[in-house]
Symmetry: C2
Subunit: 172 residues, 2 copies
Amino acid sequence: MNRREILGATAAIGPATLLAPTLAVANAQGNDGAVRALLEEYCAAWAASDAARMFAPATDDIHWVNVVGMHWQGKRDVERAHDVYLTTIFKGVAMTLEEVESIVPIGAEVLAVVARFDVGGYTTPGGFTAPASQDRMSLILLKTPGGLKIAHVANIEIVAAAAAHNPIDRSA
Amino acid sequence: MNRREILGATAAIGPATLLAPTLAVANAQGNDGAVRALLEEYCAAWAASDAARMFAPATDDIHWVNVVGMHWQGKRDVERAHDVYLTTIFKGVAMTLEEVESIVPIGAEVLAVVARFDVGGYTTPGGFTAPASQDRMSLILLKTPGGLKIAHVANIEIVAAAAAHNPIDRSA
C-alpha cells in the first residue's frame, strides 16, 4: 500500500461523505468558451498524437508537472516529452474532457482552470496494462492578444478511494 | 501495480538517465526572497499545525488540489480541510522545503513557483504507516500591495521509480 492509497483508505476523519459531486463552477466572465475551446483542442491534439499541435498555444517558458511528478521546463522540453509519450504508450488511448470544474481569474491577465479528464487504459511496451483513470489538471492560462496561452500545468491522478473521505463535502 | 507505478516502471523510452539533478532555476527579478519567505512560513505553519496561519497569505478564492486529487475551492474550505489533516494525521510529521526549483513570471502580476518538499512518514489512526515522500508543489502567486498571495496550489507526490525514466534529461 503506497502513501496515496493509505491516505485514501484512512483519511476518514470528518463525517463520511458519499461521492459528493464536484460542482461545476461556471465563470460567466466570457472566458468559458475560450477555455473550453482550448481544452477541446488539447484533447484533439492528444488523439492525433501531435505534440506540436498540443503546445502551439503555450508560452515559451511553460512548465509542466506530470502525474508522477516529472517537472518539464520550457516549451521545447515540454513538447519533446509529450511527443515521446503520445507516439508510444499513449498512442490510440482515449482521453476526453469530462468537466471544466472551475475558472478563476488571478489578477487581470491570468486564469486558473481546473478540469477533469478521463484517460483510457493502456498497455505498455513491457506488457503491463494500466487501468483507466481520472486526472484532475490545473492549467494556468495567460490572456494575450493572440488568445489564451498555457503557461503552467500540474496534473494529478485522482485516487478514487480517497474521494469519499474528503473532509470537504461540496454537496453540503 | 497501479497506473503511476506502471508509468514509472515502463516509461523508459528515451535513453536511461540516472538521477538527473533538478536544476535550480534562480530568478533574479527580486522575487526569490519573497517566495522563499512565503514557503518557509508555509513550513512553519505546518509545524505549528496552524491552518489559519498557513492561509493568512492566500487569496479569498484560492483553489487547492492535493496529492490524491481532492479539489478544494475557496479560502474557507481550503483552510478547513488543512485544519482537519494538520491536527490529526500530519500532526508532528516533519515537512521541510528541499528546493525552490523554479520561479516563472506569468504576465506582470503572477508568479508560478515549483518547489520540492520532504514529508516525513506518518501513521494514520487506522495504524497504517505511510513512508516518507517527496512532493512537487506548483504554487501560483499573485503580487499584491500587501505581498505575495497564494492563489492556486497543485501538489503532486513524486514517484521515485519514474524519475530515472524521464524522457527529458536535465543534466544533458
